[in-house]
């Protein structure tokens, strides 16, 4: 066999992908061939050096960023669909003569929404084919979808303005709750998102509303505003807690960059535990690992406390 063949065998030897016969051949050859022995030593150095070259801290930080970016992207994708669903449900009961206006991205529709009331005030909306002024959104009503298919990311609907007046929606009205749920997820202004959470917590009929629960979970995990995330976590205590909420809290505890919110999540976990949603073995392992990793003393302290209770 030629040296080149042995050079190849040296690789498989280190990869541990060599059969016994070849291994014997190689070992014998190395005794008598300085050239291949040099190759052997050189390859050994490359092989061992790379295996030692771990760079965990930097990779962990990068991984954290990459996960956050991916989450943001996927959340945006999801919302594209949920906006349409919620709006269709919320507005399907208003049906009036359509005025042909197309307009994509219904996000700001809820600008006029606060403290549990939908206010549609003042007449004379200036509408045009080009689009709407921001101030006009609060005057819109009578929405009628022409295209509610979200596949192309665009929807089309008609609207009409009305005489002065005010439409009140009771916070226990399922339609208003739906709109609020929508606002929690999509309203651009963090203050309005926060208000919406507060308002909806005042409703007596929301405790088993799955749509709302999912919205709050999503906000607790992904909202870019820490105040809104915190409010969502607190609001879990008003809901009928279940495993999904528990899992969301653990997620927040593991991923949130704000120590204050991680602590809020631990407090909530203690509450859910009191209400009978216990941590399982796998949760406890996760929390124990987190004690090793978390940078914040108080978070670690609280983690130890919660684990002690089990």
């Amino acid at each position: 066999m030629q040296h080149e063949k042995y050079e190849e065998l040296i690789q498989y030897y280190f990869y541990n992908e060599i059969d016994e016969a070849d291994k014997k051949l190689l070992e014998q050859h190395l005794i008598s061939c300085p050239q291949c022995k040099t190759h052997f030593e050189l390859f050994k150095k490359i092989f061992n050096s790379i295996n030692e070259n771990e760079n965990n801290e930097f990779e962990d930080k990068l991984l954290f960023e990459a996960r956050a970016e991916l989450r943001g992207y996927l959340k945006a994708q999801k919302n594209k669909t949920s906006i349409i669903k919620v709006l269709t449900q919320a507005f399907s009961s208003f049906m009036v003569k359509p005025i042909g206006i197309a307009f994509g991205g219904a996000v700001v529709l809820l600008a006029g929404l606060f403290t549990g009331y939908l206010i549609f005030n003042e007449p004379a909306v200036n509408y045009s084919k080009e689009g709407l002024n921001f101030a006009d959104y609060s005057k819109i009503q009578n929405i009628n979808f022409l295209d509610a298919d979200p596949d192309d990311g665009e929807i089309e609907f008609t609207y009409e303005s009305v005489k002065p007046g005010r439409i009140k929606g009771n916070i226990n009205d399922s339609r208003v709750r739906e709109i609020l749920t929508y606002a929690i997820l999509n309203e651009k202004n963090p203050g309005t998102r926060l208000n919406s959470i507060n308002v909806i917590n005042a409703s007596s009929q929301h405790k088993n509303d799955d749509e709302l629960k999912n919205a709050l979970i999503s906000v607790a995990k992904y909202d870019n505003n820490p105040g809104v995330r915190r409010e969502a976590i607190k609001s879990f205590n008003e809901l009928s807690v279940d495993k999904e909420i528990k899992d969301a809290l653990i997620y927040v505890l593991l991923n949130d960059t704000s120590a204050g919110i991680r602590i809020e999540a631990i407090n909530s976990l203690m509450e859910t535990s009191k209400k009978g949603i216990k941590l399982d073995e796998s949760d406890l392992t996760t929390l124990k690992d987190k004690i090793q990793l978390d940078q914040n003393n108080y978070v670690r302290y609280q983690l130890r406390n919660i684990i002690k209770e089990y």
Binding site: E7, E8, I46, S49, I50, F58, E59, L74, Q77, E244
Partner: protein, 187 residues
């Protein structure tokens, strides 16, 4: 919480996002590490990471359990790496420079009990290896990374890269030869 991988895949296929996360978080560090090694650039690595998992998200419903999920995932990853076009404005970051504070190489952690000399030595070696890796063809480089950094068997690399085992052996042999040439005198 103790779901098997297949259970997670099935749940994720039905639109369960928590299951999707749980599933990909089993492997995403490896994906990122591979992309980082391949591109030697953290931003590029994150781009690839993002593209890989968006593709996984969109195509998971079509996953038919004909191969391991991880093999499928690494197929996507290697493909993305090899076909990745670096963003124009990052062009000047291609080569990793030992003096470049921002490069991952200079951030080798001191969390183990390493003396400064050892850290420097290791960092220097990694710089050299990374430079040397630049001289490999995409396929040589990917084979080398999957073998030396991820520890895959040659047979598995062949499956991931859609080649015959013999082809992978050739890539690895040529890669090691090139690296040795570049690295001779570095030890």
């Amino acid at each position: 919480m103790h779901l098997t991988e297949n259970e997670l895949i099935l749940k994720a296929q039905r639109g369960d996002d928590l299951a999707f996360e749980a599933l990909i978080y089993r492997y995403d560090k490896m994906v990122l590490r591979l992309a980082l090694k391949y591109t030697a650039n953290p931003d590029d690595a994150k781009d690839i990471y993002q593209e890989v998992f968006i593709r996984v998200y969109k195509n998971l419903s079509g996953f038919q359990f004909k191969s391991e999920f991880s093999t499928w995932l690494f197929k996507i990853t290697t493909n993305m790496c090899i076909t990745y076009k670096r963003k124009q404005n990052r062009f000047n970051q291609i080569t990793i420079d030992a003096d470049d504070e921002a490069s991952p190489v200079s951030q080798i952690s001191g969390s183990e009990d390493l003396t400064p000399e050892v850290i420097t030595e290791k960092a220097e070696f990694e710089v050299k290896i990374n430079k040397a890796l630049e001289s490999l063809s995409p396929n040589q480089k990917m084979s080398f990374l999957l073998k030396h950094y991820e520890g895959y068997k040659i047979k598995e690399i062949a499956e991931i890269m859609n080649c015959k085992e013999g082809t992978i052996k050739k890539y690895l042999f040529d890669a090691v030869r090139k690296l040795q040439l570049k690295l001779v005198g570095s030890f």
